[in-house]
């Protein structure tokens, strides 16, 4: 479980992958600006839309993801003080599936945003120009997890979202069909099943990243 190389998974049989990547940000002043590259990256992150409009909402199988900047390490007051020489863009993602297809999916779906976010990272501009090179790049930045905890499940995102949709719709169905006769119940359920399409994962379902019930349902 101290994963060598890949190191995003525990146990190996799980379909939940935890990607941890530290991408060094270029040092110095960003061209044409009075600020550091780091400040530009931070500004870019702040400008990203959130929730259903976050670029990560378009990356298949992303459960939860985050980006932040590791500016330095902290001093605890008890040992010799030390500092990082670079600042790092931290990219963490919990997702379903294998690393390489996941990253390829990311490139394919949000390439412009990937370029925008990573453009000021060391060696990104010089080496990344395709899905494969993006995969290689992130793998170079990846650090192995020591321990990964799954308090949820490792199903494909589409199943999780369909489940949430069904939980909500079925709950409403049950609450509003108390006291129905056997006949009524069965026929009401059949039309319910027809409407919600229990086994169909691509719809009706909840929209990834939806923050309100209204926008969750616009997908269905």
């Amino acid at each position: 479980m101290v994963g060598a190389g890949g190191g995003g998974r525990l146990p190996k049989s799980s379909k939940h992958y935890g990607l941890t990547a530290l991408c060094p940000i270029k040092l110095g002043t960003a061209p044409g600006r009075n600020s550091s590259y780091e400040a530009v990256v931070r500004e870019t992150l702040a400008g990203l839309d959130s929730h259903e409009r976050s670029p990560m909402a378009r990356v298949p199988n992303t459960y939860l993801a985050r980006l932040y900047i590791l500016k330095d390490v902290f001093y605890e007051g008890r040992s010799q003080q030390e500092h990082l020489k670079s600042q790092y863009l931290f990219f963490g993602s919990d997702f379903h599936g294998e690393l390489e297809p996941y990253l390829r999916g990311m490139w394919e779906n949000i390439e412009p945003e990937v370029r925008l976010i990573w453009q000021h990272c060391v060696a990104f501009g010089s080496s990344v120009n395709s899905a494969e090179s993006f995969v290689d790049y992130i793998k170079k930045c990846q650090v192995s997890n020591t321990f990964l905890f799954n308090g949820s499940n490792d199903r494909p995102l589409a199943e999780q979202l369909k489940g949430l949709y069904l939980k909500q719709e079925f709950g409403d169905f049950v609450a509003s069909h108390q006291g129905a006769s056997d006949d009524e119940l069965r026929s009401a359920f059949l039309s319910f099943a027809e409407r919600v399409q229990v086994t169909k994962l691509d719809g009706p379902t909840w929209r990834p990243g939806a923050q309100t019930l209204e926008s969750a349902r616009t997908h269905s």
Partner: protein, 549 residues
């Protein structure tokens, strides 16, 4: 046996009496809550100086012959509490003020979105006395009086008023401390004070009912060294793992620091407290909340929804709260017949206990019986009822105090079954107000002056209100809210959103019942967060001698 712990780790002379004593339980059926504004520091400090000798402490009252120590029960009690703005105006130094926790500094109004005070409960709909023009807390000082009779109440109110006038004379400022009117009452919106009173039964005897018809004020947390009867640990303490909840071996006293600042708490430390320690030690916080009850809507909904779900209305009412209207807990008495039989025994023992014609021996025996039955009223948990087939998982009193049930049947998941509960307990010290004998309208003057006491408003009251009443995740109930207290931003809410499930035995043949379209039964009408200083701290404040240096 009734024994009191008098000698203990807490100086009960220093602790205000409303913290430890639920006055309602001691035969004080009437109360008056008087709100003041402090315009001149000198007048405010003098007022406090004059109030200190009148204050009721937590020293136990002697009960005929049972204890040797303790003071005699007075005809009325008096206590005082201060808001942040009150402390500021009294001249408490900035350094001390800044050491109070955020929520106290902000006050209850500013916490509205945390508390779910929206829609009908929004601050703009509160009583005039709680309205503010300059954004500052309008009420600075609260005097609470509880009394055995209206005469005793009136007399003490008079005396408090005299003290205020005397303070203003000293300060040479007739509005130095100013009593703030603006409490809504049956007579209009401008009452000079808020009255509270136990509801009376058909014989005019004050009792423990609240306006929806439930017996209230049964459960009461039990803290180490609090001087109350040690058998109150049953149901009142924290749940231990291996003994029955019906016995005192099943419970241990909560750490004193859950109730009082300056004492160690359940996290084995002193709770965060303002400086200097003389200001905070033996003090605590009081949440004062006026909660209006829509009795007509409640009655109508109980009748119609019970019919819709083919249930006895009394059972329906019991499921909402987790106790039968007569007070018997659903967890121990799942059927009405059992609950009624139990309650009849309890009432009989109580009558015998106070029967003047009986011999002292008979009365002592009845007292013993009565206390034992009261233990049964509190000595239960939900660990045999994880699914909620007797007491619904979302019932009001189960939400408010899940006892051992948040291990969800996973014995030993946590080091102690109360791990998630012991830091969330609140001592309730309020009383009903108004009259709801006309059950056909909602807009009469009736509700509860809800008062919650504890060492951290944020960790205890606000957490319970927000996470346990207005939300359901800790109980694995999604966004379901407490049925009694649910509040909604507007009236036309999707009926399927406002619901509650009455669970059944998962291995049985019945199906769960789901109430839907639960209307808003309770509306917040005002209140604030108060600090209840020790007598030591009050004297220091009165002298202008609080010095955190």
């Amino acid at each position: 046996m009734t024994t009191f712990e008098i000698r203990s780790g807490v100086d009960l002379h220093d602790v205000q009496g409303n913290i430890i004593k639920g006055y309602g339980r001691y035969g004080f059926p009437v109360a008056r809550y008087v709100t003041y504004r402090i315009n001149a520091a000198v007048a405010g400090r003098t007022f406090i100086k004059l109030l200190v000798p009148m204050l009721t402490t937590s020293v136990p009252w002697s009960e005929s012959g049972v204890v040797e120590e303790g003071t005699k029960q007075p005809p009325s009690t008096t206590n005082v509490a201060l808001t942040y703005e009150g402390l500021r105006r009294l001249g408490v130094p900035e350094r001390s003020l800044l050491s109070f926790p955020d929520e106290f500094v902000m006050g209850m109004r500013a916490r509205a979105s945390i508390l779910g005070d929206v829609g009908a409960s929004a601050p703009k709909n509160w009583d005039p006395v709680w309205q503010t023009e300059d954004g500052q807390q309008p009420v600075h000082l609260l005097v609470t009086i509880n009394a055995e009779s209206s005469d005793a109440l009136a007399q003490r109110y008079e005396e408090v008023g005299l003290a205020a006038r005397a303070a203003n004379d000293v300060a040479g400022d007739s509005a130095g401390v100013q009593q703030l009117a603006g409490h809504r009452s049956a007579g209009g919106a401008d009452a000079a004070f808020q009255d509270g009173a136990a509801l009376r039964d058909e014989h005019g005897t004050p009792g423990p009912k609240e306006h929806f018809g439930y017996t209230d004020g049964i459960s009461d947390p039990y803290y180490k060294d609090s001087g109350s009867r040690s058998s109150n640990v049953i149901g009142g303490g924290k749940r231990l793992r291996d003994s029955s909840p019906a016995t005192d071996a099943g419970w241990a006293p909560l750490a004193t620091g859950e109730l009082l600042l300056g004492h160690t708490d359940e996290a084995l430390e002193y709770p965060a407290a303002p400086v200097p320690s003389t200001l905070s030690k033996n003090g605590t916080y009081l949440v004062y909340r006026k909660l209006h009850q829509n009795v007509a809507t409640f009655d109508r909904y109980a009748a119609s929804e019970a019919a819709k779900l083919s249930m006895e209305e009394n059972l329906f009412r019991a499921k909402l709260v987790g106790r039968w209207p007569n007070g018997a807990p659903l967890a121990s008495f799942p059927t009405e017949a059992e609950a009624n039989a139990f309650n009849a025994k309890l009432e009989q023992a109580k009558a015998d206990r106070f029967d003047e014609t009986a011999t002292p021996t008979q009365r002592a025996a009845a007292t013993e019986r009565h206390l034992e039955l009261k233990e049964q009223q509190s000595g239960f948990d939900y660990r045999e009822d994880i699914a909620g087939e007797s007491c619904p998982v979302g019932a009001h009193s189960r939400r408010a105090n899940p006892r051992g049930s948040l291990e969800f049947g996973q014995d030993h998941a946590f080091s102690t079954p109360g791990a998630l509960v012991n830091r969330r307990r609140i001592a309730r010290r309020g009383l009903p107000y108004g009259d709801s004998s006309d059950r056909s309208v909602d807009n009469g003057d009736h509700g509860i002056i809800f008062m919650a006491i504890g060492a951290s408003i944020n960790r205890q009251f606000e957490f319970v209100q927000q996470q346990w009443m207005n939300f359901g995740n800790d109980f694995r109930l999604g966004n379901d809210q407490d049925a009694l207290l649910a509040s909604w931003p507007d009236e036309d809410i999707d009926p399927l959103r406002a619901r509650m499930t009455f669970e059944v035995d998962p291995d049985g043949m019945e199906v769960p019942k789901i109430c839907t379209g639960i209307p808003q039964f309770v509306e917040t009408r005002g209140g604030d967060y108060f600090f209840v200083p020790s007598l030591t701290a009050l004297s220091a404040i009165a002298r202008g001698a609080v010095d955190p240096t």
